[in-house]
């Protein structure tokens, strides 16, 4: 008897916690994501990807290094970084501008849940962005996905958004204390364009560039997406995606540690409303 009540009690707690997490994530996404006006949102989902994909595809094709599909897939997956880096950073750093930090830091909620909640919708949104990019690629540039298992492709996409959001969580924490958030964000976005293999085949890179790519998000999910497009199976990508997700978790936990450190410093130095 006792046991059933605790079990239903536990189930109830889990469900209500999940609902709280979902609600908090959804509202923080709406509250803090400045691009969330229909026009700007669509621009970020269609015009930006289209620009980038066309630009690099034509540039790449012109240089004749790789196939058209190579660039289309690389740049479509790279779209994950728009949500992951820019979106998540806004969701963490936005509290600084809203003046809500005292109320966040004064709340008894779990900081980890609060922190991860800020990324949750951007992970989903980033996946939508990559899918948009691939659809544009198919429609406009004749990307061939006939060999691809859609489910595996989706896995690669989710891994890409998780890992880039992990980096975004770190950058978001940094944005709470730096003046120029955009400098960091743009630099990283640019680094990803160069080093992740989106536009330069990793086989053609010097060793040091490969090494940089190894510690960046997206590198492995881009590779996995290309393998899936070429008809690869789960076994061909599982290793890549595992490391990709772990890398994202590493950045996220580093970001979280930094976030807690900022919170502690703010209480110690009295800078909570001066940040």
């Amino acid at each position: 008897m006792q046991r059933t009540t605790t079990q239903t009690g536990l189930l109830y707690t889990i469900i209500s916690n999940l609902r709280m997490f979902y609600e908090g994530s959804r509202l923080s996404y709406i509250a803090l994501f400045h691009w969330l006006r229909p026009s700007t949102y669509l621009a970020s989902k269609i015009i930006m990807p289209l620009n980038q994909i066309l630009f690099f595809t034509f540039l790449g094709e012109f240089s004749g290094q790789n196939t058209r599909d190579f660039y289309v897939i690389g740049n479509a997956v790279q779209m994950a970084a728009i949500s992951g880096i820019y979106g998540v950073t806004m969701s963490i750093g936005g509290d600084r501008w809203a003046g809500t930090l005292p109320y966040l830091f004064g709340a008894p909620s779990s900081r980890l849940v609060m922190f991860l909640g800020r990324a949750f919708f951007h992970i989903l949104d980033g996946a939508v962005g990559v899918i948009f990019g691939l659809v544009l690629g198919v429609l406009v540039l004749g990307l061939d996905l006939s060999q691809a298992d859609p489910l595996l492709l989706l896995l690669a996409i989710i891994a890409a958004t998780i890992s880039s959001s992990g980096l975004g969580l770190l950058l978001g924490s940094v944005s709470l204390v730096t003046v120029n958030v955009w400098f960091f964000n743009n630099t990283l976005y640019f680094l990803l364009l160069l080093f992740s293999g989106a536009n330069i085949a990793r086989d053609d890179m010097p060793a040091w560039m490969v090494a940089v790519g190894d510690i960046l998000p997206l590198t492995r999910s881009i590779e996995a997406a290309r393998r899936v497009a070429a008809g690869g199976s789960f076994d061909d990508i599982s290793g890549l995606l595992t490391v990709e997700v772990l890398l994202g978790l590493f950045y996220a936990s580093f970001g979280f540690t930094f976030f807690r450190w900022i919170e502690f410093q703010a209480r110690r130095r009295g800078t909570i409303d001066r940040m």
């Binding site: 509250a31 109320y103 110690r268």
Partner: protein, 322 residues
């Protein structure tokens, strides 16, 4: 009655850099040595001039700032070592309209903060409409708050801080910047909370507000409590005083100095009001010295001379100097 808030020798020193490169550090003693108790259900006012240390005190009690030394317990929990427990038992607002999510509606703001206070979603569903009604925002709750007036935002802050139904509230200048009607509405909300037996620490610069609301008042100056009593007793302390108020024109500081040097004059203050000035003199001899004062103002235009009983403001002015 049991103690809800206990503050002992609380002190907070800030380090601020004085040069651009931040090499030279200056120490600012914001709160020097503050002790007081607040009983359960009591409405305690903290008054003091700008920079006296009110907000710093509130921040320490609200776990947002670690004291340099001293201790404070809230509902029996230590503000440093049991911060999490303290946070669950308190609500707080810092005056002004910031601290809300402008792109969300009033209701969604409350929903978000409800999730931060771990309110069960089904509970939040009942609680939020109740609070919206309580703070008089019914009918406007679905509008984005970027379109709210200042008063509406400040009332929404009150609703926000009541989400988890805390027993203890810190209200740092809740009526700041509100028009008289808005301020009155907010005071009536505070009164409702008082009748619900909440323990409230209120800071304000409006003396009549403190007089009307507070059970006890602490006056803080340069980070130290210089008086702590009921509003009645504080006023009693200046019963020997009477206050002469007059409207004058074109008076300069040398005249004020001259007045201050007069026998039986306790304090003199001058406030500019459009073309005229309001001269306020505190004295233990009241109407007896009016003639002396007027003689000293020979050559200046003087109108509307009133001698009145001291108010809390007069008690305050005597305590903090003026």
């Amino acid at each position: 009655m049991s103690i809800a808030i206990e503050v002992q020798n609380l002190r907070r020193v800030y380090r601020a850099s004085t040069s651009i490169l931040g090499r030279e550090k200056k120490e600012i003693v914001a709160v020097s040595d503050v002790s007081f108790d607040i009983k359960q259900g009591e409405l305690f006012g903290l008054l003091g001039p700008n920079g006296a240390g009110k907000t710093t005190t509130v921040k320490m009690l609200a776990t947002l700032l670690i004291p340099t030394s001293g201790t404070a317990t809230i509902a029996g929990y230590d503000v440093v070592h049991q911060a999490q427990k303290v946070r669950e038992s308190i609500g707080f607002i810092f005056g002004g309209e910031r601290g809300l999510y402008w792109r969300l509606s009033g209701e969604d703001n409350l929903r978000y903060f409800a999730s931060l206070y771990r309110l069960d979603p089904s509970e939040a569903k009942k609680r939020i409409p109740y609070l919206i009604e309580l703070v008089g925002l019914k009918g406007r709750e679905n509008e984005k708050i970027e379109g709210y007036s200042r008063g509406m935002k400040q009332r929404l802050h009150i609703a926000r801080t009541l989400l988890h139904d805390p027993d203890i509230l810190f209200l740092d200048e809740p009526t700041i910047g509100l028009d008289p009607v808005g301020a009155r509405e907010l005071r009536s909300i505070v009164r409702d909370l008082q009748s619900e037996k909440k323990t409230i620490l209120l800071t304000t610069h409006y003396m009549f507000e403190a007089d009307a609301l507070c059970d006890r008042i602490g006056v803080i100056k340069h980070g130290e409590i210089v008086a702590l009593d009921t509003p009645q007793n504080l006023k009693q302390g200046v019963q020997d005083l009477s206050v002469i108020e007059m409207e004058v024109y074109g008076i300069g500081s040398e005249v004020l100095d001259k007045l201050r040097a007069q026998p039986h004059v306790d304090s003199v203050s001058l406030e500019d009001r459009e073309q005229k000035q309001a001269l306020v003199i505190q004295s233990s001899h009241g109407s007896e010295i009016v003639q002396d004062v007027i003689n000293n103002l020979n050559g200046y235009r003087v109108e509307r001379v009133v001698v009145r009983e001291p108010t809390l403001e007069d008690a305050y002015v005597r305590l903090v100097g003026g």
